[in-house]
Symmetry: C2
Subunit: 430 residues, 2 copies
């Protein structure tokens, strides 16, 4: 399926042709990248790091255009901050590139193989996915991070950033392509879409001949739009409505610290606890003290009736609270009669991202970890650990809420796939 | 997204409501199945096998209705054969059920785990996908096979077979549900769509709230239709345009036997060789002899000019031949100058299913296996080995030509996914 021309205007036809060309170039580059040696990919990443340092003045001049436009358009100061290619932001990108360069190459490794009765060996080899589209919002650091992870895993990348960062992303794209050239890799291995036209997003999302997967990094609006329009498979990150359940057999000091950390480590991350479930037997012992710690941090509490009987400051919680990913200093609290009710609540309301149980009881811990159907399930840990670096992946392109392919934090391995490799000596079938 | 009502007629609204209900019931059953013990799933499969034997008369009476309709509709005798629930066909289903019952339960196994510097353990646990839709054409044995594999892997299943097998599939569905009940598992774990209305297919393919993946088993028309309509991810099986490349360092006796087996083991399977590539240095030695063996089996040969100079009986091959999955006793042959040209041909024309090299040269073998981007790549084996049983998977739901999730033959593992499981003792973040 080619990019559909949804409008017959020459503008849209031209845009479609441009996106089509990007796709063809990416596919061609992907074939070279698929078998590029690890040292060449690492050399390209180091060359990009060197050029980020070297071209700082150019990058910051281009970035200044975006910043000025952002201020003129009345963008919120926090958003303007996120846009800024400060010395510190560039330094972070450089460090990231060098770290990814040093990681082991995921491509070409093989799983354990088995030998069939006829003597042929059957195994699987890790290979790149092919061409990855990244559609993201304003942070220009994604341009570098995503390109680096996709390149390391042997994929060609088409990057479509937010229009607010247009000049910055274009300049970063030039740095990336120069780094690729320095290492003798095809420049089309990483391409930045050279237009702010929003129609380009829909065209990329239907370019099934040339793009193998699209990773959207942005708000729910972007993801909803892509989920409705895309024919290319999406590796998507939806809500993190995360739960901590304090079991009757919890160590209450641990429970206090885990719940407090899960909520207050950072309010805006997808792993932040949004609803706390507490076993009725321990609620009177743990809730008043925990509530006080949360209130001291400025967290607004909303609870079920039994919770409100213990915490007078809590507002009444409704079904909407159980369903909400606040990403703010607000916490919903519900007292449950047993672990079954806790798991029922999670099955009913969770977005399937990350849940945790606090307990010293082995059976409860095992049951919770086995039966809760979320992409990450923890025992005696705060949900805010949901992060590829914390899991030891060394890098993270995002957190997947898909059920297929990669689920939870996605590192380099999630950007690859497996092919079957069979070796024989003339065995025949039948 | 709910099933869209594409027509306002009360009929379509009713059908949409019916499909919606199937989805809700499947989702609910999936939660129970997700944690059902292995012995209960095995017991259900054995109970189904017993009931297939016991209810043979009923099944064959229902099957007779389909057979009669098929004959009245002038269905080809081969198609009528495929429809028939003969004693032998039932016996094969029973054997299959018992084999699947005896396989190890894939659910709940854990990957190797690592311990992070803070002491928390990070691993992954294999879990069911959830709800799987199977959309297939006339063979009623798929009803049993697919239900058994999905159940064994802990998934709820919605089965939508071809209308030609409607009565047979409904009767098989009753046997399956009775077997589930015998083992105390929810009857909605396997549901057969109770209508022949083709609109049901489109409704299932967009039921993203309740179906996690759809596996189409049928012709290209069905898959093309689903690829255009589906919002639910597809695990799909497209063309098998498979290649064997005879390298200059091939053992020519092995090459002869491998190529002959790859083409003639069975013409209609997706792993059948459709194009043979031969290194120019060995073509004069191998091709005349191999051509004779193929012609003796009644295979029509089509070749490039150089091939035709060696094999006068070969018709001229065109680009359409390079692109075609014949599934018939026809073979395209091309002589190439080196392994690079062979791999270029494959990159240009292959459907990415299965390719093989015949060589005694380690470097050529390794290069081919590493660089050819197909879901299976063989050394010194015929492409007709593309099959889950041959790979030792113990069962096969199909062969995936997707790049993501499962690629190549899909067994029980491909019907599961992984979740992250972290275990700590009160570690906090930040």
């Amino acid at each position: 399926m080619n990019a559909p021309v949804t409008d017959t205007s020459s503008h849209n036809a031209e845009l479609a042709a441009q996106i089509q060309t990007l796709g063809q170039q990416a596919r061609q580059a992907a074939r070279t990248l698929m078998t590029a040696p690890g040292h060449a990919k690492a050399a390209a990443l180091r060359a990009m790091a060197a050029r980020l340092e070297q071209d700082k003045a150019i990058l910051q001049a281009e970035n200044a255009k975006d910043l000025e436009a952002a201020r003129n358009n009345g963008l919120a100061p926090a958003m303007v901050d996120r846009l800024m290619l400060s010395d510190k932001a560039l330094k972070t990108m450089i460090t990231g590139l060098l770290q990814i360069a040093d990681m082991p190459d995921p491509v070409g490794s093989q799983t354990a193989s088995s030998t069939r009765p006829n003597g042929m060996r059957v195994g699987q080899m890790r290979v790149p996915i092919g061409v990855i589209g990244i559609i993201y919002e304003s942070r220009p650091n994604v341009t570098i991070d995503a390109a680096a992870l996709c390149l390391k895993s042997g994929n060609a990348t088409i990057l479509r950033g937010g229009s607010e960062a247009f000049h910055s992303n274009r300049a970063l794209g030039a740095v990336i392509q120069a780094g690729l050239a320095d290492a003798g890799l095809p420049q089309h291995a990483v391409q930045v879409v050279g237009t702010t036209d929003r129609a380009a997003v829909g065209m990329l999302a239907t370019l099934t001949d040339y793009i193998d997967v699209i990773i959207p990094r942005g708000g729910k609006g972007l993801i909803a739009r892509l989920a409705a329009e895309a024919r290319v498979p999406l590796l998507k990150h939806l809500d993190g409505n995360c739960h901590v359940y304090i079991d009757e057999a919890a160590d209450l000091d641990k429970a206090h610290d885990i719940a407090l950390n899960a909520k207050t480590y950072r309010y805006g991350i997808c792993g932040a606890m949004e609803t706390l479930l507490v076993h009725a037997a321990v609620a009177p012992k743990i809730l008043p003290r925990l509530a006080q710690s949360l209130l001291d941090k400025g967290v607004e509490l909303r609870g079920c009736e039994r919770t409100r009987a213990l915490i007078p400051q809590a507002l009444p919680a409704t079904d909407e609270d159980w369903a909400t990913e606040y990403l703010e200093p607000i916490l919903a609290i519900r007292i449950v009669d047993d672990i079954g009710q806790a798991m029922d609540h999670i099955a009913r309301w969770s977005s399937g991202h990350t849940e945790a149980i606090v307990t010293e009881n082995l059976h409860a811990a095992t049951q919770f970890q086995r039966e809760v159907d979320s992409s990450s399930v923890y025992i005696n840990l705060p949900t805010c650990f949901a992060d590829g670096f914390e899991y030891g992946l060394g890098a993270e392109i995002g957190i997947s809420t898909n059920r297929l392919h990669a689920r939870g934090p996605v590192g380099l391995e999630g950007l690859t796939t497996l092919k079957w490799v069979l070796t024989g000596d003339g065995q025949l079938r039948g």
